[in-house]
């Protein structure tokens, strides 16, 4: 499928999970396609990075479900920061382990999963809907019942995929992508490169084939589709471009110039426009 067809499967008001972690292996081409679309009023569920920042900057977000939003080499994302400080978005902030359990509960069709994480912290006070559960066994422990984080759609970027929707992650960490897909009704992969199924084991070991087509409904080939986040081993984070992204957030004029050049253009034009910084930092 194409990026436009992928975005055509989404609706305003949906809860959308975005894979990756911080500024690493984010489905940025899909995020950019959402930025160009009329979609709005989204609930974004993410181990947040610039995906969250860009969607906030474009006014696409009603609510963010997060444990953090970071650019890794830069501690915070300026647009998410502004959106929170201006009261422009709703927020559900939970411990990053609770976040995992919420997705896992949804993937396993359970109403909740119990954990110690959250007890005693303000995660329970700022989210008054969170409940605790008492162990039915002799220990009688009272634990947090993390509610299932059900997703209408999930977007995940992988290094390789085949046309049937199996995905291969060649970097060191698959993060929680498999769980995001499991928690969602509509599941989409973007990939650096579509390969024939019989190529997979020449690309990487069996363990890198961590996303089966049982978990996906569509796949789009988007070379450079995680840029400017890291997508090792295909490419590292484009630190120079990330710094430019942060610098452009400093005022409205700078940002509209940045948006005109990089965001209000087709994905292929984005890729050519950003080839410079990528070459400059190549191999890092």
């Amino acid at each position: 499928m194409s990026l436009d067809e992928l975005v055509g499967e989404l609706r305003s008001g949906m809860t959308i999970g975005i894979g990756g972690w911080g500024s690493r292996r984010k489905p940025m081409a899909a995020v950019r396609a959402i930025l160009r679309s009329p979609l709005t009023d989204l609930t974004v569920v993410s181990y947040g990075g610039p995906d969250v920042g860009l969607l906030c900057a474009a006014g696409k977000v009603a609510k963010v479900v997060f444990g953090f939003v970071t650019l890794d080499s830069i501690p915070t994302d300026p647009h998410f920061k502004a959106a929170r400080q201006n009261g422009a978005i709703d927020a559900m902030e939970i411990d990053e382990g609770m976040f995992y359990l919420g997705l896992l509960a949804a993937a396993q069709r359970l109403p909740f999963l119990p954990t110690r994480a959250g007890l005693g912290s303000d995660v329970l006070t700022v989210n008054p809907s969170l409940r605790t559960v008492t162990s039915p066994y002799d220990d009688g422990e009272e634990l947090v019942a993390v509610p299932a984080l059900h997703l209408d759609a999930a977007l995940v970027h992988v290094n390789r995929a085949d046309a049937h929707g199996s995905g291969q992650i060649l970097g060191p960490d698959p993060f929680f992508d498999e769980v995001f897909l499991g928690a969602a009704d509509r599941r989409f992969l973007t990939t650096e490169r579509l390969v024939d199924t019989e190529r997979f084991l020449a690309e990487g070991p069996l363990q890198s084939l961590c996303i089966s087509r049982l978990l996906t409904d569509g796949v789009v080939e988007t070379p450079g589709g995680a840029h400017f986040t890291a997508c090792v081993p295909d490419y590292p984070r484009d630190e120079e471009f990330q710094r430019a992204y942060v610098a452009a957030a400093a005022d409205a004029d700078l940002w509209s110039t940045f948006a005109r050049e990089y965001l209000e253009v087709a994905e292929s034009d984005y890729q050519s426009a950003t080839a410079r910084t990528r070459t400059a930092e190549g191999g890092r």
Binding site: T115, G118, L119
Partner: protein, 262 residues
């Protein structure tokens, strides 16, 4: 486990940053085989120093998705690391929830009973400053030993009450019940001025030691709440000659530590 070397007032020529490294290393004393996670320069150096000296079973990470053998210098080329195991984030939670971890985190704010904040400054509903988020702090603090590193001790970081409780302190853990307090331990708070703990009857922060050259009065002045001050406050123990050599020539030859604590 060997006891720490005795503190003396003899001049070793150690810098303030090097005392901070020693104080962070001491956080890992006696732990055995646990995963050490350390954020910030002094904690990263402290964990490695402990691994090379008195805590040889400590398990270090590469800061990404691998556990590594040995204790490489700061900023070592990743290809030079000896990988001993795969530790992606999903597995990190298995370690956190099993308790086989000892962590030094940063704190934008920390308060008298050991609550830590990295979420937001001001009201959570509409912060005056949005920080990174609670991250794993709520889960870490109720599952395994956690300590904090504050490189700039001030009344803005050491506050009466944090704005958003991310890492859970003693009073909150106790109020939340046995499930929260069962594995809860705030072992130490290390700042550029001294070392602090909660070894008081009501579990509030006290001065454990001052770094040489710092006075108790200076610390009290730089703290936004009333600290417990024992009758006699020792100096932070000085590094042994071997420790100093490891810090200076093996672990941090480029002196990153002086950029964090001048």
């Amino acid at each position: 486990m060997s006891p720490p070397p005795p503190a003396t007032s003899a001049d070793t020529g150690a810098s303030r940053a090097e005392y901070c490294v020693i104080a962070c290393a001491e956080v890992f004393r006696g732990d055995g085989e646990v995963m050490a996670s350390a954020f910030g320069t002094a904690p990263a150096l402290g964990a490695r120093l402990a691994r090379l000296t008195f805590a040889p079973d400590l398990v270090l990470t590469d800061g990404d998705a691998a556990l590594i053998d040995g204790a490489p210098p700061l900023g070592a080329d990743p290809s030079a690391l000896v990988v001993e195991s795969h530790m992606p984030y999903r597995r990190v939670f298995d370690v956190v929830w099993s308790g086989r971890r000892n962590l030094i985190m940063m704190a934008s704010q920390i308060d008298r009973t050991g609550n830590q904040n990295i979420s937001a400054i001001g009201a959570w509903s509409r912060p005056t400053s949005q920080l990174v988020g609670v991250r794993g702090a709520p889960g870490n603090t109720v599952n395994h030993s956690t300590s904090y590193w504050v490189p700039r001790h001030s009344s803005r970081s050491f506050v009466e009450q944090v704005d958003v409780v991310s890492g859970v302190g003693y009073a909150r853990a106790s109020a939340a019940g046995p499930s929260a307090s069962r594995f809860h331990e705030i072992r130490a708070v290390v700042s550029n001025l001294g070392v602090f703990d909660f070894a008081t009857p009501d579990r509030v922060m006290r001065i454990r030691s001052v770094h040489p050259g710092v006075t108790v009065e200076e610390i009290i002045e730089a703290t936004g709440f009333t600290l417990e001050v024992p009758d006699r406050v020792p100096d932070t123990r000085m590094p042994t000659p071997r420790e100093l050599e490891l810090i200076r020539t093996v672990l941090d030859p480029r002196d990153s530590r002086a950029r964090e604590v001048p």
